[in-house]
Amino acid sequence: MKLPSGLVKCLERQGVEEKGIIFAAMGDLDEEFRFADTVVALTNKKLIIAKYPYREKKEIHLGGYNSWSLEEKETGEPAVLLYDLERVEQLEVLRQVSTGVLMGKIDGTERYLCQFSNTKMEAFMRLNRLLEKIKKKEEITGEDLDVKRGKECCPKCGMIYPDQERKVCPKCMDKKSILLRVVGYFKPYKLKLFVMVCCYIATAGLNLVWPYLSGTVLYDKVLAGNEEFLAMLHLPAGRFAVALAALVVVMVLTKILMQAVGILQGVLTAQIASEVIAKLKSQVFESMGRLSISFFTKRQTGGLMTRVSDDADEVSSFFIDGIPYFFINVGTILATCTIMFLLNPLLALGSVVLMPILFFISYRMLPRLWHYFGKRHRANRKLNGQMNENFTGARVVKAFGQEEQEMTRFTRNNTRVRDAELDVARFDCQFSTLYYLVEDLLTFLVWAVGSALIICGTNMELGLLITFSGYVGQLKWPLEFMSRIFRWYTNAMNSAQRMFEIIDAVPEVKEVPEPVRPERLKGDIELKHVTFGYEPNKPILKDVSFRVKAGEVLGIVGRSGAGKSTLVNLISRLYDTNEGEVLVDGVNVRQYGFRELRKNVAMVSQETYIFAGTVAENIAYARPDASREEIVRAAIQASAHDFICKMPQGYDTILGPANRALSGGEKQRISIARAILADPKILILDEATSAVDTETELAIQKSLEQLEKGRTVLSIAHRLSTLRNATHLIVLDDGRVTEAGTHAELMEKKGTFYKLSQLQTKALAMRGVE
């Protein structure tokens, strides 16, 4: 970071040199909650706080705009406070809802030093850590000073890169490249595409011929008895009946040809589109599988599903229907107009004079119509959401007798849908009325001008007029198409962007280029100063350290929200630590290949998940090649065998959303069997028996004891009885390890664990009395 030169001068006057400054952070709020700058800096000896006077800023940059620089001219002199580090006992960031306050304990008094928005949080957290390091006289590394981690901006426009790994700025990126990239998907179908384009051209050509045949040729040549025409066809004079027959045959053939081309084109479209869609979908799905678990928790599942299905359709349909039709329609419009002007310039002028108005109407009004459609869609979604909520929560609604209130809520939502529906209908009517009115006017105009020309006895004939009206009718559809194409293009590009975003997304948790791939792990686990949070600046685990030797059982105790489940997620590397490291057999888990690591770590968690498939398939999920004997043995060990046997189809019973529903305890036992069959070196039990009754728990406990032999087990439980056989235990409180030791040691200590265990014994005893 570069300090403003005014500040540097100011500091020099007070005897602080610029090169002595180790780190500086900038707060952006003052005591009166205005955006004003405060620089907080550290040297080896001093804490510097430089407050700039408030001044109105041209622009405030928050979320995502990370860089800070002061415009030297306008800043004025800062008020500088210097504190010797001996006087500063401690710095602390007090988190507010969306800001932070830097508090310093100076000379024994807690002092408000400055306030800043969440954007600056990271820098101030670092400032704190640095102060601790300076106080402990530890070495400061480059990593300690790097605040920009994970927040780099485009040098051109200053926006953050959506994907920090790719360093591609969407704003400055070439839009054409997306288009070209999508075109790449159609490359394998070159031949089919060529045929398709031929079909389009043929259709357009035939469309031009048809009005000419049915108008000019039929009326002006054949029916009007034009001898020259017969001569041209090499027919004897006067044989108009033959000419008529020939014309009919030609017209029928033209129609048949048009239909045939249409069919061919439809078949090809269906073939190419469905193949490209399938390819896009599987690519998106595949990369979703690659992505880290955080990707899924950050986004709504519904949104993801739309991406997989709708976006692919949108893109493909635009490329199949949109782009070719665009060229065809441009061609049609140009060719039609040219022909019309060649045939009769005056009438042609009459035909096209209103066309721009038509185009303008649909260009201006259609977006509003779509807006109303969107509104209707959202209202409907809300109504459906409420119905869903009510049907699933019917028990609660009835239990509290709130049917009437729900009815009122329904009525309100329903009214909204109705209003939205009315809006759509009203605007749709307005739009169509206006549109068709102009369209009819256009037709009338052609007839009026045409008729006037005929009456006035110019070289105008009836057939030509009919041909013209045919051409005018044909122009309507391309015009409407052209007014839609812009929006279509944007939507398709957005969809393509969204899909490519997933296809190109770099998983947050990545395998290292050359991972360690041991055959079998021993199962030693060690956590060293691990800090982790799902969101930046909100650590769930704080400086957690412990060690479990291979074959030991570690019990983890703590109230809900203490970070127990988060802790175990780090071991199988569903997430990476923010600071510190997780070691398995003395090697950082980041060094292992995913396959090797996850094969050796199995987890039975409180959320059980049953896939669609048979019971046997569900148990053998981690090892699909397991034999029947192994599956049954695993089920017996998990106390699941009995209830499975009682089901009519036994192990062949198909489970899944639409089929037999299992109770919570049954699901849990199946997932335990799954873990037993996986035969991992490290077993994580996250409230594995929370949903089963006490008796079954005892049975499972026994089988778990069997299972625990020769494995390292991390077991999380609220019921301390579950942790009887733990080699040692840790107590987590608010993300920190507050107590650690064997059962006896903890009881001796008379701390949280002792208290909890006393409470539970008492509670059990009380229940026994009743």
């Binding site: 800023k57 507010q96 800001t99 008379k750 949280t752 409470l759």
Partner: protein
């Protein structure tokens, strides 16, 4: 002072022996609603710029102020909590008017500190690209640019007209009345609302 407190009200975790009475007392305390009024509580500003509280026979050097209904009723049911990470509740102010004028001001100051949220007065531009939305707005603190995620919880509706926006760093912004914005501005927000 710290030591003082521990003598008066021993923390259970540090008890030498398991004391059932103390446990009962604690759980009863947890279940009770304690109201702080002008009579039983005395708030004061500390030298360092924070808020101190004296209630009954206990003194707190620094306390936290939490609104229980920050959106619908910011002046009632204000929870006063201890300053450490656990933030145990000391008591609730039922109505800010129960306190003296200058104490009310002190509390309001703390509320502003904790619930700082610029109000969006004008939407100049919202651009969505690659899953992020880039906002350019005028807030009551001036012209401001920030970035949010698209979809998810970036924009949540607090009522029919009231919206709250959270950017990627966790800064929050408020639109108190959507219909106070112009049609054109509302159109820019169509993506979210």
């Amino acid at each position: 002072m710290e030591d003082n407190r521990e003598q008066e009200m021993p923390d259970l975790l540090d008890l030498q022996e398991f004391d059932e009475e103390a446990l009962k007392k604690e759980s009863e305390e947890v279940l009770q609603m304690r109201f702080l009024t002008g009579e039983n509580a005395l708030f004061s500003r500390t030298e360092g710029g924070f808020l101190a509280l004296k209630t009954g026979d206990r003194e707190y050097e620094r306390v936290g102020v939490y609104l229980t209904f920050p959106l619908t009723q910011p002046e009632e049911f204000i929870s006063i909590r201890e300053a450490d990470e656990k933030a145990k509740e000391i008591g609730i102010i039922r109505d800010l008017k129960d306190l003296k004028k200058e104490e009310q001001e002190m509390i309001r100051e703390q509320v502003r500190l904790r619930y700082f949220m610029p109000v969006i007065r004008k939407v100049l531009d919202v651009k969505d690209e690659y899953g992020y939305a880039y906002w350019h707005v005028v807030t009551d603190y001036g012209n401001c640019r920030f970035t949010t995620h698209m979809g998810g919880d970036a924009v949540i509706s607090l009522s029919d007209v009231r919206y709250q926006i959270t950017d990627i760093d966790g800064n929050r912004y408020e639109i108190p009345d959507l219909y106070a914005l112009s049609v054109l501005e509302r159109k820019k927000l169509d993506l979210f609302i």
